[in-house]
C-alpha cells in the first residue's frame, strides 16, 4: 500500500470510529440513567408518601407529589400520639440502638486493630492458622450462632439487655475488623516496627504512637462497615432482646406489623426513613475516606 492510500484509509477509519464512539456513549448514559432511577425510585416513593396525609394516600397514586408538606407522620413516628398503652414510637428504641452501636463499633474496631497488628507485626508460630480460623468467622451465618450465643448470654446474665447486644455484635464483628486491619497493616513496612523497637518503643507504644496515627483510612472503613452492620441488624436484636431493650430495627418491625387499626403508610414510611438516616449520615460524613481507605495501600516510602 502506498503512503497516500494508507492516509486515506486512516481518515475513513477515524471518521467511522468517531460515530461509533458517540453512539456507544449515548447508549451507556441511557443504561446508567435507567439503573439509577431503578435504585432511586423506592426512596422517592417513601419520601413522598411520608409527607402525605392518609386520605391523600388512599385516593392518589404512588408517584404524585404531596399537596402540601405534612410533618404529622414524622412526629407520630418519632414521638407517638401521646396516649397510653399500645402506642409504639421510635424515640426510645432509637436511643437503644445508639447505646448499642457506639460501644459495639468501638470495641470491635479496637480489638480488630489490635489483632491485625499482632497478626502482621508480631508474627508467631501458627499465626496463619489463627488468621484462617478468624476468617471462618466471616462466613458463619447469623443463624448458626443464635442458640449458643443465647446460652452464653444467659450464663453471663446479660440476656435481653443492651449490654448483651453490645457483646454479641462486638464478638461477631471481630473477624471482619481483623481482616480489614490485617490487610492494611500487612502493607506497612516491617522496618517501621524494627526502627521503633531499636528506638526503645514496646508493643503498645508502637501500636498507639506509630501505627494507630496512620490508620485513619482503615478505621473509617471499619467504622462504616460495623456501624451499618450493627445498626441494620434485625436478627440478633429480635432474638436477644425484646420489649424495652429492643433496638430500632425491631421496634420498626413491631410498629409496622402490630398496628391494630388501619395501616398508616405515611407513618410507616417516615419510621423507615428515620431508622435508615444514621447510616446515611455516617456515609456522607466519612464516605470520602471510605473510598480512599478501600483503595489505598499504606504510606509510601
Amino acid at each position: 500500500m502506498s503512503a497516500n492510500t494508507t492516509i486515506a484509509s486512516y481518515k475513513q477509519l477515524e471518521g467511522r470510529s468517531k460515530i461509533t464512539n458517540l453512539l456507544l456513549r449515548w447508549f451507556l448514559y441511557f443504561i446508567l440513567i435507567l439503573f439509577a432511577s431503578y435504585f432511586i425510585f423506592p426512596l422517592y416513593v417513601m419520601l413522598v408518601t411520608a409527607f402525605k396525609t392518609m386520605p391523600e394516600i388512599r385516593q392518589g397514586n404512588l408517584l404524585t407529589l404531596p399537596n402540601q408538606l405534612n410533618f404529622e407522620s414524622w412526629i407520630v413516628a418519632w414521638g407517638g400520639r401521646g396516649y397510653g398503652a399500645g402506642d409504639t414510637y421510635l424515640r426510645p428504641y432509637f436511643w437503644n440502638s445508639i447505646k448499642m452501636v457506639v460501644p459495639a463499633v468501638f470495641f470491635s474496631t479496637f480489638i480488630g486493630a489490635m489483632t491485625g497488628y499482632v497478626l502482621t507485626k508480631w508474627r508467631f508460630k501458627g499465626d496463619r492458622w489463627v488468621f484462617l480460623f478468624l476468617l471462618f468467622g466471616c462466613f458463619i451465618p447469623y443463624q448458626a450462632i443464635l442458640l449458643p450465643m443465647a446460652r452464653t448470654l444467659a450464663v453471663l446474665g446479660i440476656s435481653n439487655s443492651i449490654l448483651g447486644l453490645v457483646v454479641v455484635h462486638s464478638v461477631y464483628g471481630i473477624p471482619f475488623t481483623t481482616l480489614f486491619f490485617r490487610n492494611y497493616y500487612v502493607s506497612i513496612p516491617d522496618e517501621l516496627i524494627k526502627a521503633a523497637r531499636i528506638d526503645g518503643a514496646g508493643f503498645f507504644k508502637i501500636f498507639f504512637k506509630i501505627l494507630l496515627p496512620i490508620s485513619a483510612p482503615i478505621i473509617v472503613v471499619t467504622v462504616i462497615w460495623q456501624f451499618t452492620q450493627i445498626w441494620n441488624d434485625f436478627l440478633f436484636g429480635a432474638t436477644f432482646s425484646f420489649g424495652k431493650a429492643a433496638p430500632i430495627q425491631v421496634a420498626l418491625n413491631n410498629m409496622v406489623l402490630s398496628s391494630t387499626s388501619v395501616k398508616e403508610y405515611n407513618v410507616d414510611m417516615a419510621s423507615a426513613i428515620i431508622a435508615g438516616v444514621p447510616t446515611l449520615i455516617v456515609y456522607v460524613l466519612a464516605g470520602k475516606y471510605f473510598i480512599k481507605g478501600l483503595t489505598s495501600g499504606a504510606v509510601k516510602g
Binding site: 524494627k194 521503633a196 516510602g301
Partner: protein, 362 residues
C-alpha cells in the same frame, strides 16, 4: 579494640539454613560491608546484630560483652533502613528525637542533640515537615539523623541507598563516607552493590548461601579472590576464567596443544599447590589484557575478536580463545579490528589460579 564479634553464628528459618557458622570480627572505627547476592543472608545477619532476630546457635559480642539476649534498644546500636522507615505521622523533629524520648533523656539534652545532628546533616530547615513532604535524599538524611542522635557504638545500615536514583545514590554514598570519616564510629553496612561496597568499606565480607566467602580489604577482594564465587561476583565485567590444565608449572589452556603459559612467578597460597597436575581455571581481569607489550611479564596470546561494546570511556571486547570466551577492556580511543586474530598480552603478575574441583584459590 574489637567492637563487634560474631562467633559460630547459625540461623534457620524453618528448615532453610540462612546462616551457617558465621565468624566475623570488626575493629573499632572500621567500616565493614556485608556484600552478596539477594538471599545470601546478609540482612538477616544485620538484623541479628541489631537484636531484631533471634539466634539459633552462636553468639554476638559488642565491646566484648555477649549481647545475644540483650534487647535491641540496649545494644548501643542504631540502624538505618532501606525504606528509611520514618514514622509517617511524626514530623522530622519528632522522628529524630523519638528514641531519646523513649529512653527518658532530659529535655535540654534532647534539644542539644537535635540541634547538633540537624545542623550536621543540614536538615535544620525541615524539622517541622512530615516525611511525606521530603524528597528521597532528605528522607535518607533524616533516617541517618535518627541514628546519629543516639550516639551509638555501632551503626547498622541495611541497603540504605538502594531506593535512591543513580545520581543521588552516588552523592549519598559520598556523604556516608564523609560522616564515617568525621565520626569514626564502627559501621556495619549491608548492600548488594559492589561499587558501594568497594568505595565505602575498609573491610568487605562477601557472603553467599549463608557462608562468608571472603572477608578482606577491598583491594585483596578485588585482586586476590579466595574462590571462584568471589572472582565472578566482583568486577564489572567479572574476572575471566579460562579452563585448562596445570602441568609442570605451566598452564595449558583447554583446546590448545602447544601453548604453555609459565606460572613460575605466581604466588601460591600453599607451595604444595604447585606440585601436582590438575584441572584449573586461570583468572584474569579484563583490564589486565593489553594490545601492546609494555612489560617483560606480559605474555603474548592470540585470540579472535568477536564483539565490541562501546561504553563511553572504554570498550569491552569479546574474544574467542580456543573456543573459550573472554573479555578485554580497552580505552575507547583504540581501534580494534573485528573478526581477526589479534596479538594480546596478559599481565602474569595479575592472574589468579583456581582449582577446578574445590573452586578455591591456589
Amino acid at each position: 579494640m574489637i567492637a563487634l564479634k560474631i562467633e559460630n553464628l547459625s540461623k534457620n528459618f524453618g528448615r532453610t539454613e540462612v546462616l551457617k557458622k558465621i565468624n566475623l570480627e570488626i575493629n573499632e572505627g572500621n567500616f565493614l560491608v556485608l556484600l552478596g547476592p539477594s538471599g545470601c543472608g546478609k540482612s538477616t545477619l544485620l538484623n541479628i546484630v541489631a537484636g531484631l532476630e533471634t539466634i539459633d546457635e552462636g553468639a554476638v559480642f559488642i565491646d566484648d560483652y555477649n549481647v545475644s539476649n540483650v534487647e535491641p534498644k540496649d545494644r548501643n546500636i542504631a540502624m538505618v533502613f532501606q525504606s528509611y522507615a520514618l514514622y509517617p505521622s511524626m514530623n522530622v523533629k519528632e522522628n529524630i528525637t523519638f528514641g531519646l524520648k523513649q529512653s527518658k533523656t532530659p529535655k535540654n539534652k534532647i534539644e542539644e542533640q537535635l540541634k547538633k545532628v540537624s545542623t550536621f546533616l543540614q536538615v535544620d530547615e525541615l524539622l517541622n515537615r512530615k516525611p511525606s513532604q521530603l524528597s528521597g535524599g532528605q528522607r535518607q538524611r533524616v533516617a541517618i539523623g535518627r541514628a546519629l542522635v543516639r550516639e551509638p557504638r555501632i551503626f547498622l545500615f541495611d541497603e540504605p541507598l538502594s531506593n535512591l536514583d543513580a545520581k543521588l545514590r552516588v552523592e549519598m554514598r559520598r556523604e556516608i563516607k564523609k560522616i564515617h570519616k568525621k565520626l569514626k564510629t564502627t559501621v556495619v553496612y549491608v548492600t548488594h552493590d559492589q561499587t558501594e561496597a568497594m568505595s565505602l568499606g575498609t573491610n568487605i565480607a562477601i557472603m553467599n548461601h549463608g557462608v562468608i566467602q571472603q572477608c578482606d580489604t577491598p583491594k585483596n577482594i578485588y585482586n586476590k579472590p579466595h574462590n571462584i564465587f568471589v572472582a565472578d561476583f566482583i568486577g564489572a565485567p567479572p574476572m575471566n576464567l579460562i579452563q585448562g590444565n596445570f602441568i609442570n608449572g605451566n598452564f595449558i589452556p583447554n583446546g590448545s596443544s602447544n601453548i604453555k603459559i609459565p606460572l613460575d612467578k605466581y604466588d601460591f597460597k600453599d607451595s604444595n599447590n604447585s606440585k601436582n597436575e590438575k584441572s584449573i581455571y586461570l583468572g584474569i581481569r579484563p583490564e589486565h589484557i593489553y594490545i601492546d607489550k609494555n612489560n617483560s611479564d606480559y605474555f603474548q596470546i592470540s585470540a579472535k575478536s568477536e564483539l565490541v561494546e562501546y561504553i563511553g570511556h572504554e570498550q569491552i571486547v569479546t574474544f574467542n580463545y580456543f573456543e573459550q570466551q573472554f573479555l578485554g577492556k580497552f580505552p575507547s580511543t583504540l581501534d580494534i579490528n573485528m573478526d581477526k586474530n589479534l596479538k594480546l598480552y596478559i599481565d602474569l603478575n595479575q592472574i589468579s589460579l583456581f582449582d577446578k574441583n574445590t573452586k578455591e584459590r591456589l
